[in-house]
């Protein structure tokens, strides 16, 4: 990257996933000078994660949906890089954003891996955050055992490494995302002992109207049915994993049938033995902390996640800050791309989206909302917890400690819970435990806004990624390093 030019960028894009690629391409093709910051080492985000191009330069996209869209976006992305309008900084994590007098965004950067960073700061007039999300988790007995992973984490492992993390898998939680995970495990040669879906598929029936607005989804459903039949994968609905069993790592899971509220049906428990990897996915948590730190307004989406408010131009409530993809609500890669195009164009020149694009986005939002309603987090999920089940993995805070702080000390929100029990104070800064801690704390109050307030306090992290003290202390002495 040229260090001679000192002018700030027109547009900075955080994330090079489906949303970020589309935003970057749309802005660059409108003549904006764009910088893209992404924690990963190559473009694609979570959905189009692929083997390192150093070992597989021309991936064929096996096991990927929408690979043609990726190839198109990627060639336009690469073209914009080669003409010098787009600067791409991989392996780079944005950890803090400030604003200068003129309203310009100042992005502080740290290496995602390793210890050196070439460019510690970039400035831009407009910002598009496409930071995506990570798997949402619910604690249960045994979830801290090695061999228990996020369902998306298994998917990412297979896509990035081309190998499997184990041999015999159980995938559990809720939502259609469990299907591609199981399918990819089977395609890579792993045995999927069972997929446990807590919802009942009849939950879909009231929402078929919304689903039929997105025909591609029905097609994918048929595709998975065929894959499941071929690999003899048991798809158990209204079923949850009640505990993971093992000494030093997972070796079995206990499953049980549940009713619509998530309460265990007595006598339905059974043990699935000889399992070495258990993948859990209860939807996704959008990464909105950077947008929240800039003051973006939030709302609770249909899946119970805290997401940022965006208008039809993908503009947040903060002037100059645009949002696309999971940060505006979990809705899948097709929606993320559509929003990314709109956000990039708005950021570049204030362009209004075409009516057809706006309609497409609306259709996908309706589908996503129907999907979330059909796959809720079971209301009674916490009935599985024992006193010593860990709620906060990082700080090893138990369920008994959390309920005591709530019921005896009155910690009915995540912030108070944190000060009493240290939940959310570990390395992950509450990314993993934040949702569960918010739910459990809110059970101690009748205040309807308690959950929103708790999730907001979880999203208010001083820094978006843990830094070494050295890094923080060098901050003030850093030369403003423009590009």
């Amino acid at each position: 990257m040229s260090k001679e030019s000192t002018s700030p960028f027109d547009v900075a894009v955080i994330g090079a996933g489906p949303a970020g690629l589309a935003a970057a391409v749309a802005a660059a093709e409108r003549g904006a000078r764009v910088v893209v910051l992404d924690a990963a080492t190559q473009p694609g985000g979570q959905f189009w994660r692929h083997r390192p191009e150093s070992v597989e330069p021309d991936p064929e996209g096996h096991g990927h949906h929408g690979w043609k869209t990726y190839l198109d976006l990627r060639s336009r992305f690469d073209a914009a890089i080669s003409t010098g309008v787009l600067h791409y900084l991989p392996n780079t994590q944005v950890w803090m954003i400030e604003r200068e007098d003129a309203g310009r965004f100042v992005l502080r950067l740290t290496p995602a891996t390793g210890t050196t960073i070439e460019v510690p700061t970039v400035r831009a007039d407009k910002l598009v955050s496409c930071a995506g999300g990570y798997d949402r988790q619910l604690p249960l007995p045994g979830w801290e055992l090695p061999g228990v992973m996020a369902a998306g984490g298994i998917q990412a492992f297979i896509k990035a490494n081309g190998t499997l993390p184990g041999k015999r898998f159980v995938v559990a939680g809720t939502g259609p995302f469990l299907l591609p995970v199981a399918a990819n495990i089977a395609a890579a040669g792993g045995k999927v002992v069972a997929v446990c879906e807590s919802s009942s598929l009849t939950n879909w029936l009231p929402h078929m109207g919304a689903a039929s607005g997105v025909p591609g989804k029905a097609l994918e459903g048929a595709e998975y049915a065929a894959i499941f039949a071929k690999h003899r994968i048991r798809y158990r609905t209204r079923t949850v994993v009640t505990k993971v069993v093992g000494d030093s790592s997972a070796t079995a899971v206990q499953i049980a049938k549940v009713d619509a509220s998530g309460a265990i049906i007595p006598g339905s428990e059974r043990l699935l033995e000889d399992v070495d990897i258990v993948g859990f996915g209860w939807g996704f948590t959008p990464q909105i902390e950077l947008a929240v730190s800039l003051g973006a307004e939030t709302r609770i989406d249909a899946d119970g996640s805290l997401v940022c408010v965006a208008d039809e131009k993908q503009s947040s409530t903060v002037p100059g800050l645009f949002l696309a993809g999971e940060v505006t609500g979990v809705g899948g890669a097709v929606l993320a791309v559509a929003e990314g195009y709109v956000a990039g164009a708005s950021a570049a020149n204030g362009e209004q989206p075409k009516t057809s694009t706006a309609r497409q986005i609306q259709r996908h939002r309706r589908f996503a909302s129907a999907m979330h309603q059909a796959h809720p987090v079971p209301e009674k999920w916490d009935e599985l917890l024992t006193d010593d089940t860990l709620i906060c993995r990082c700080e090893e805070v138990s369920h008994a400690q959390v309920t005591e702080a709530r019921d005896v000390l009155g910690a009915t929100d995540a912030r108070t819970m944190k000060s009493f029990t240290r939940t959310g104070m570990g390395w992950c800064q509450g990314k993993v435990c934040g949702y569960a801690v918010s739910c459990l704390s809110a059970k101690g109050t009748t205040d309807e806004n308690a959950q929103h307030a708790s999730l907001t306090s979880v999203a208010k992290r001083p820094v978006a990624t843990p830094l070494t003290l050295g890094e923080i202390s060098t901050l003030d002495s850093r030369e403003p390093h423009n590009l």
Binding site: D135, G162, T163, G166, S248
Partner: protein
């Protein structure tokens, strides 16, 4: 188009181990049947990969002398020194 896999050698607590190029440190360890490589501060419990994408920090490990690196994020490279509590 896959190139034939390129082999690299990494050192796991000073023991040389062959691995395929282009894998994360976490994948190399899991490939060796190692599922945990650190123990927790309070209870001394084993931990390895969890989120798989850099969010949870369960997979922290020492790489080339640098502690607290995320095994799921770092790509293994030839003659890399990886140190952890593999008996965890």
């Amino acid at each position: 188009m896959s190139n034939p896999p390129q082999r690299i050698t990494v050192n796991l607590n000073a023991t040389p181990v062959q691995a395929e190029a282009g894998q994360s440190v976490g994948a190399v360890l899991m490939g060796q049947g190692i599922k945990a490589w650190r123990t927790t501060r309070n209870e001394g419990k084993p931990r390895g990969l969890f989120c798989g994408i850099g969010a949870c920090y369960d997979c922290l490990i020492t790489i080339d002398g640098e502690p607290n690196q995320r095994a799921c994020m770092v790509q293994a490279s030839d003659s890399m020194n990886i140190e952890g509590d593999f008996s965890a």
